[in-house]
Amino acid sequence: MSKRTFSIGGIHPHDNKIARGCAIEVLPLPQTVYISMAQHLGAPAKPVVAVGDQVKAGQVIAEPGGFISAFVHSSVSGTVKSIAPRQDIAGNWMTHVEIAVEGDEWVEGVDLSDTLVTEIPEDRNAILEKIKACGIVGLGGATFPAHVKLNPAPGSKAECLILNGAECEPFLTSDYRIMLEKTKEIIIGAAIMQKVLGGCHTVIGIEENKPEAIEAMQKALAELKYPNIEVMSLMKRYPQGGEKQLIDAVMHRQVKSGGLPISVGAVVQNVATSLAVYEAVQKNKPLVTNTMTITGDCLPVEKQHNYLFRIGMPLSYIAEYAGGVPEKAAKLISGGPMMGKAIANLDACTVKGSSSILYLSEETTKRKEETSCIRCGRCADACPMGLEPHLLRRLVNAGDVEGLEANSVQDCIECGCCLYSCPAYIPLLDIIRPAKGQVMGIIRNRAAAAKAAAEAAKAPQK
């Protein structure tokens, strides 16, 4: 088996997978859940229930608010108490549906048993419809609606479906645990997506620091006998799980700047998404549960957990159930330590894409004081997009927007490798991020203007 990796940049942080040995436990239901209408990339969903309505678990409570949007389902049974703004983890106000939990009754047709359903439906469109109706979004971080990605525009063809089991972020172990405990379900999910994409080659990419997962996958593949699916061991390197990096590692192809993975024939989905697809298509179960890791460097091993949670559970409830916030915690993070978001509001609730509560101690997370750039070039060596963060910083300071675009600031994937590796602790990503936004805005405006001009030129000819 070849050991591959992406070709540009990357770093090797300590993987700290302390919770790897913790089997997935089911969280008990809280008294109330608050389900956000913005659980996915794109337009927020529009509520279709009213205050006072009785809902069951798995029932649609909101419908897509646009083409790129997704259905949202109730994760519990009970009464809708309110539909009102509530703060998310960053403290931003977003519409949430508050449901008081009463019992645990699911809508009809949902199969909650563990029975494996290996028979894959024949009708491609029916599968896609099911994935859409069940509100499946990418669970690798971006929460992009899965049915959009699995239905490439006419003219483009998927050559390779890549299942992302890299889990390159330190500390996180939820993908690892589902790969061990839901191995076959993930493979069936992959086979379903393979079917939707027209039977393309399928690769499950897993980093070599998870040998048990690689072995389990290979064993299950041999048993299930779906054609054209293979497991690929990847070197341990961050950000291997980045979509562009994973395509480079697996297919040795690079997506052009501004292009979509499908332009090089690739479709990437996370292993957790594959599990959700399995549950949706084979078990009729909408995406209302996911797995998250409770971990950190200041949390004793016996207090670390991998939980099956339902969307809308307050983080504070989960933290409390897990034994409380450790005393030495200086920063609470939702997601991994490289790309996760600092939790500003622990009363915020889980969403489809939640992957962890990570507690970091002050000595691990506190940045040292910024000093002068010593031009060591470590940021440029680390950048997986081949950018030169030191140069971008100079251009930002000079206010040179054209220079920023010429030096591809818009390609930044915000992985944090530059800041991680800077010995002078210069907050490179903090500086680059707004510049990227500014340049992308300019590019969008230019494209819109060009389109308008082209249409104006066409009009008189008619």
Binding site: Q254, P337, T371, S372, E388, G416, Y420, P423
Partner: protein, 327 residues
Amino acid sequence: MGKYLVSPNPHIHAKESTSTLMRDVVIALLPAVLVSVVFYGLGEIVVLGVSVASCVLLEYLITRYMLKKPSTICDWSAAVTGLLLAMNLPASTPWWVVVMGAVFAIGVAKLTFGGLGQNVFNPAIAGRVFLLVSYPTYMTSWAMPQGLFGADAVSGATPLGVIKEGLMQGASVPQLMAENGWSYGSMLFANIGGSAGEISAIALLAGFVYLLVRGVIKPYITLSIWATVFVFSGLMWLINPAQFTDPIFNLLTGGMILGSCFMATDYVTSPMSNKGGILFGFGIGLIAMLIRYFGSYPEGVSFAILIMNMCVPLINRAFHQKKYGRA
């Protein structure tokens, strides 16, 4: 919630910081420092002590009282400059000459340009060259190795100086090598006249390997210098062995090892890209050998590094990282 930090990603950081990198350079220089103290004795200790102390003190005084900024001595870069400057000087250098060198290195070459990260020229080399042109008598009377408890230092010339002098008087290279009894062994292990940084190639190379293993520096610049020197002097030597010294001699003598391993690889004054580093090293190797063979100075590594330092902004402009998806 107020007591928890909220800031953007990433939330962790690599262990290295500027000060740990600079400290690693100091550690890498220690073997060579020890060897030079053993061979040159008290004089070397004075030069080392005065150089490091005056560099650090000057950095402190200038940043605090002239620039009115927080002191930057904690980043260890001034100590590195002091150490490297001392290793470029003869053990017999008077203390006040060393101080002059430190004033030029830290005060002029480093802090007038804006301090660490902003300087165009390697401060230690700038200091050495300043002393070389200002106090040539002190800078070219090299102490011969006498040992820590040896008798008074005996002045002598370095092998490169002897060769240059001898060639001008009409002698040939093999003749001079034989007369002086130099062997590659003595050059590797500290038995030839020169500054602290010229005495033992092995001790310096040990430090270089340490820096490579710790990931502090990359090997491209150094290897490029060695390859250029080896190929260029090899060609010249094959053409005329009586006039031109051989490649191994050129790699092991003078400031070649110290310069290529520790001075040319200085982050601030070398190119950022690997390809740029290779070009930079090629330039240093070529200019150094041209000075050695055809210049009036016996040694040219310092000048070569300073000249190539000036080219770094141009090199950085020419060589960029390979970008993802923009082939």
